[in-house]
Symmetry: C2
Subunit: 479 residues, 2 copies
Amino acid sequence: MAKEKKLVEQITSMDEDFAKWYTDICKKADLIDYSSVKGCMIIRPYGYAIWENIQRILDTRFKELGHENIYMPLFIPETLLNKEKDHVAGFAPEVAWVTHGGSEKLTERLCVRPTSETLFCEHYANIINSYRDLPKLYNQWCNVVRWEKTTRPFLRSREFLWQEGHTMHATAEEARAETVQMLNVYADFHENDLAIPVVKGCKTPSDKFAGAEDTYAIEALMHDGKSLQAATSHYFGDGFARAFDIKYTDKDNKPVHPHQTSWGCTTRMIGGIIMTHGDDRGLVLPPAVAPIQVIIVPIAAHKEGVLEKATEVKNALAAAGIRVKMDDSDQSPGWKFAEYEMKGVPLRIELGPRDIENGQCVAVTRHDGEKHFVSLEGIDTTAKELLEAVRSGMFAKALANRERRTYVCHTLDEVNEALKNGDGFVKGMWCGEEACEDRVKEVTGIGSRCVPLEQEQLGEVCMCCGKPAKKMVLWARAY
Amino acid sequence: MAKEKKLVEQITSMDEDFAKWYTDICKKADLIDYSSVKGCMIIRPYGYAIWENIQRILDTRFKELGHENIYMPLFIPETLLNKEKDHVAGFAPEVAWVTHGGSEKLTERLCVRPTSETLFCEHYANIINSYRDLPKLYNQWCNVVRWEKTTRPFLRSREFLWQEGHTMHATAEEARAETVQMLNVYADFHENDLAIPVVKGCKTPSDKFAGAEDTYAIEALMHDGKSLQAATSHYFGDGFARAFDIKYTDKDNKPVHPHQTSWGCTTRMIGGIIMTHGDDRGLVLPPAVAPIQVIIVPIAAHKEGVLEKATEVKNALAAAGIRVKMDDSDQSPGWKFAEYEMKGVPLRIELGPRDIENGQCVAVTRHDGEKHFVSLEGIDTTAKELLEAVRSGMFAKALANRERRTYVCHTLDEVNEALKNGDGFVKGMWCGEEACEDRVKEVTGIGSRCVPLEQEQLGEVCMCCGKPAKKMVLWARAY
């Protein structure tokens, strides 16, 4: 019991200090560790297993849509990075530079890729010749480096893992359709697999990706009322194609620049899972990406028949394709409960002598702590139903939090008044001027997150300057 | 026909220029492309799909044996790299150094990981406390960088992809058993999945991994008679544990240094596949890792019923879990034959109107060019049997090449005489002195590859100095 108590005591309450609560979970749930490499993190097996599940689901979807995986070099020569002017301006301040190989100084500096548009463009210039070569639908799973000043596990680290899709299309229409299609893939993945409700939108011009014509993003509201940009999808037009001299001959034998997209999501999503679903007992994982979906804890395991029955249940669940673990170690049940709650295992099954006598077990759903007394007969089907109930319950809970924290405002005074209830999404009209974005930030502390694709007509005028409004914008403080 | 002819002409014959034949295949089979990043390669979708299949098979085996995946930082601070003296001496001359982040000079240089022993050790020092924490069985799939002077696709490039297992054990016995177990995993994978016969052995002291007590390797003989080190497995003893102050308290509450292993294999294996199985018509892929296992080419596809039947066959094979593709493009059958031969697809199914009338199809096995007339009934089972026949046929062919090129020699004169027949494996006795290894190399051009685990007593004396022999060594020229 001493150890159990210690475990629970070790977590800061999220209401007391949300940032500390967050890093506590990262450490105590064995997701990450620090090292002597400043600003970088070690992703420990339990954290990495979440990432592997994310990869598997997304990779399958990408491939179903015709994308192929590829691997590009880690390094980008400085001259290559400099080819597209907006792009280099955006990234040069935050790249790591390799200057020496062994004991020799390099004749040209190489940056460690912060993103790979330039490498893909150079390759596309080599392999795209005819309209028959299009579209090219490539994706890469890899590590990237951005030299951030302040870092936090998963949310912002100097090195992170991600996928970057880079596609080339014959027409602008096709490329635009791809951009939106991939935004929808990310949105569906978040809502259906991660149980995280998202808002799909377009970034304002000041917030676009370096070199993009349009940047789309999905924004998710975290438990503390701040917004997390969870994935992005960019439409580049033919800007990079012109800079890199990528051309194809169309059916009339004329040279044309193709149109381009890129889209990505990162290990940051694990931070989103923590801050959307976690609670004061630790992590709460959506079943689709949980390394362990069901933990079986035998009660009074020394009594005859308990371990046998628990093993039987484990085998039945495993055979049904459920990721299941039985903990028959010599720790107390109380310690085990706390441990797997900390690790966010969606469903716990407790099984003791009396349960077995009654042909039942106790199933506890992590996200709401509810106890379900369920029959051992058909336990595989019941467990699947419960996991689906967990998923929809987690989504509903997250959505309720978002709705509770979404404010409709018509003036900056209304914004400041609303935010007294705590951070959240503010829906407000905007005239389209960057000056108003800046002023909203200055006066209220929140910034434009995106122009939601689903627009609402909340009023006629900009909530900042009072001039005619063009769009409804989603505003929030952001990670 | 023009295009078909051109394709065939484009490959250099392997007998004419083996090195050129190799790079021709890398390019023409769409495995790689070059970029402006010197010494690094782009792994194109067809090449990367081979790597994904390799990863899937090995990753499953590692996990079945209890290993967990983890992700460590890309960078290693110079002081951390310097902690184990032999290790840094081995790697420092060939690492890439990051000296600047954005516009700022770093206070300490960071090397881009050439291997991650130092990072794993630092982490292990943090998380290993008690005998209950052991063993730790970690693995990492990642990119590494070694600043090579001369590079070749897959075989030697400045950046490559690999996995590196790093494990910690309570006793030397356990760690030694792990080292040998993982060597066997690699050997089985090569022989059963890649159809590449290998020799398992121990490196001589001069050829050990930097910091290791023992280095095991598997050596495979390539088509040109040179040896390829295909994977390695190292036993470290407690050398790193001492350097990094890693200790656990044993059951008697005494502090003890744990014992360590590491083991790895890389994208180099794709080079091994090319040079073991390829021929003058291109790549020949072992079915287990072939992105396309069966290619279906409809003949006279415009005739009634041909495409329908071909699609039916495709669906039957896909349902049986075979990676199958149908090429119904408007290229000629001859062009398609050459194209998929170049790409090394293990089995081609040709299906025309007359075949359909006869209820059969023509199945051509890539490795020997044999035509098989097989019934369309039960084509899924037949295809599986043929793929298995391809695997064993490829292994037999490679083994025959190796046996043909393996020479037993008792003196250096015999070695020089044998090598007149072409490069190959030389089996010869060795006294154990490094001076003799050097002299063998100087006089004959071949070096010690390993001390095979399966020893043969070929004679009593060293083939170089004539003093009493200790071991039979496998000698060869190497990649």
